[in-house]
């Protein structure tokens, strides 16, 4: 994460923001609109120049902050994010698709053969397809808002980090500590699989709070200890094969997952 801070620039001006959607369901962009109660407060802090979801005005030449949703799945998308990186002082990725390749990433294996299996003639709208990848596999990313979909206020928090700077560290610890803070029962005690063991913390373990195991939508922590997690699965009577399979949902293109096997 860079130390770029809009407010620290020589001539602070209202930061110009663009919001761009790549391969995704657009749900994370919707989550921005879902910050309803505070939406005007948030918009008041920025100069929103481009947002596909809200307006068909074309993307401007100049802006300060690029917010990117979705995975990179075409050469066109790759060119788009490279251009965004060149023009923006700050790049923020939002959602699992942009940060882990997410749902498009699930199709990474055999991705290039698939269109021919579906279509007799692959439509031009598909673009020049490339294997799905997260945005940071193509360009440097300054800030991330993880989870599927993003939490509205989490997005605002990260946007403000970019606008004003922050003394908050970006943790890479995994989730189980959050469950202990919440004092929820561990699924492993019930021989049930949960991906919290290796998934990057930060959401407050909200699925577990709702009685569901973590499905790993925040992606593998760079400090995930896969060999130890597999041993833990064995010790608690949870299938290691199920564990590895479940990880593919949000981490299929993560190099850590591929090299550890």
């Amino acid at each position: 994460m860079s130390g770029y801070c809009i407010a620290c620039q020589e001539k602070p001006a209202t930061p110009r923001v663009v919001v761009v959607g790549l391969a995704s369901c657009f749900g994370c962009q919707l989550q921005i609109t879902n910050v309803e109660a505070h939406l005007l407060d948030v918009l008041g802090q920025i100069d929103l120049r481009y947002w596909q979801l809200a307006s068909s005005d074309p993307m401007p030449e100049e802006f300060d902050v690029a917010v990117i949703e979705g995975a990179v799945t075409t050469e066109e998308a790759e060119a788009t994010v490279r251009q965004l990186r060149e023009r923006a002082g700050v790049v923020i990725t939002i959602g699992a698709c942009a940060t882990t390749a997410g749902i498009p990433g699930m199709a990474a294996a055999g991705f290039l053969e698939r269109p021919a299996q579906v279509y007799d003639h692959v439509p031009a709208a598909c673009g020049e397809m490339i294997a799905p990848r997260p945005v940071q596999a193509v360009i440097d990313v300054d800030f991330e808002v993880r989870t599927c979909p993003v939490d509205s206020l989490d997005f605002v928090d990260v946007l403000q980090r970019a606008l004003y700077g922050s003394n908050k560290a970006v943790p890479t610890r995994t989730m189980c500590g959050d469950c202990k803070r919440n004092e929820t029962s561990c699924f492993f005690g019930k021989q049930q699989l949960c991906l919290g063991l290796v998934t990057r913390a930060g959401c407050g373990a909200r699925c577990v709070n709702l009685g569901r195991p973590c499905n790993g939508c925040r992606g593998l922590s760079p400090d995930a200890n896969l060999p130890s997690a597999r041993e833990a699965c064995e010790r608690y009577g949870v299938s290691v094969a199920d564990f590895d399979k479940a990880l593919e949902m949000f981490n299929q293109v993560n190099p850590a997952l591929q090299t550890s096997e």
């Binding site: 206020l153 922050s166 003394n167 943790p171 610890r173 290796v198 400090d223 200890n225 130890s228 997690a229």
Partner: protein
């Protein structure tokens, strides 16, 4: 110390009397475990609980607390008041009371007392209750199986009655008003002795008693064992979240959505968190599990002893259950037991 005896049937009226002035928090059943939480009635309380997921530490050092609100526009602190709820922690085990006594050394008795902690500690009464150790308990190894101070009342279960140790006037007055405390008889004292013996005999004899562990850790600081133990750390920080004596924190500023006002917050941190020892410029003094776990064990079983003459570990056993990688002080004791056996050969 003043001792009195009350009948077990008098406990509900004691709890009701506390509820008139205080929020009462006590162990309650949640899913497959127990947790301390505010109760509305004595019937919700599970005094026979084995342990709780997290400890009563959370009532003195909340997982996240606001230190003060601020106004970012003029860079001013907006207020200082902390939220303090007068509270009774009802049913704390001896290990947790001993843990609180250790937190006192850090946050209350040092050169710079922590006003937030001290205010909560002052506004809280502690009612301890005796317990029977389970397989993961090793408080006895560190002399933490008895609470000698740090509580207001301590209830020793003697079947249909409790021997009550009374150590504060405030709690004594409430006990006096709510129950009919009577002077202990010789029979009560003999039952108390038997109960204590039963507890002492119930500890898991499989857990090695290595009283010189602190010295051994100094001697074996570079042993390959620390890689074996720390190398399997999952970096989840469950250990310190459940630990009744882990007190490290981070301080962060959180802006409100309008960007104009915000809060300075203190939140639990952990030395097993990968960023814990990372400093400006990016250097990380403990960049891997080996160094982080070893550091944590040294603080629990070595460093605090050197500074405060007692272990920072109280042997509550919570981390034994919480850590999915089987990293805990018992494993360290087992390592030194093996070392001793190797040397003897």
């Amino acid at each position: 110390m003043l001792y009195r005896v009350i009948d077990a049937s008098e406990l509900p009226s004691l709890v009701s009397a506390f509820m008139e002035t205080y929020e009462v928090v006590a162990p309650v059943k949640r899913d497959r475990s127990y947790v301390f939480e505010a109760v509305e009635s004595f019937d919700d309380i599970e005094l026979g609980y084995d342990t709780t997921v997290s400890s009563p530490k959370k009532y003195f050092l909340p997982p996240t607390e606001t230190l003060f609100p601020f106004d970012a526009r003029d860079n001013e602190v907006a207020a200082f008041a902390a939220e303090i709820t007068p509270r009774v922690i009802f049913g704390a085990h001896a290990c947790d009371i001993n843990a609180l006594n250790r937190l006192d050394l850090v946050f209350r008795d040092g050169r710079y007392p922590d006003p937030y902690y001290v205010a909560r500690r002052k506004a809280t009464l502690i009612v301890g209750v005796s317990c029977t150790p389970d397989a993961t308990c090793f408080c006895n190894l560190w002399g933490a199986d008895e609470a000698r101070f740090g509580y207001d009342l301590f209830l020793q279960d003697l079947g249909d009655k409790y021997l009550v140790s009374i150590s504060s006037v405030e709690a004594a007055n409430i006990l006096e008003a709510a129950c009919n405390p009577r002077v202990a008889t010789d029979e009560d004292r003999i039952e108390f002795r038997h109960a204590t013996r039963r507890r002492q005999d119930a500890f898991n004899g499989e857990i090695p008693d290595i009283q010189d562990v602190a010295m051994l850790m100094d001697a074996f600081h570079k042993d390959p064992y620390w890689e074996e133990l720390g190398g399997r750390c999952l970096a989840c920080t469950a250990c310190s979240a459940v630990c009744p004596t882990c007190f490290c924190f981070d301080i962060q500023d959180t802006l409100d959505p309008d960007g104009k006002t915000g809060r300075r917050e203190r939140t639990w941190d952990s030395c097993t968190s990968p960023q814990f020892a990372q400093v400006a410029g990016g250097h990380n003094f403990r960049a891997d599990g080996r160094n982080r776990v070893r550091h944590r064990m040294y603080h629990k079983l070595n460093g605090f002893l050197a500074n405060h003459d007692r272990m920072l570990c109280v042997g509550c056993g919570r981390c034994v259950t919480a850590c999915k990688a089987n990293i805990n002080p018992i494993e360290v004791l087992r390592f030194f037991e093996r070392k001793g056996a190797d040397d003897a050969e």
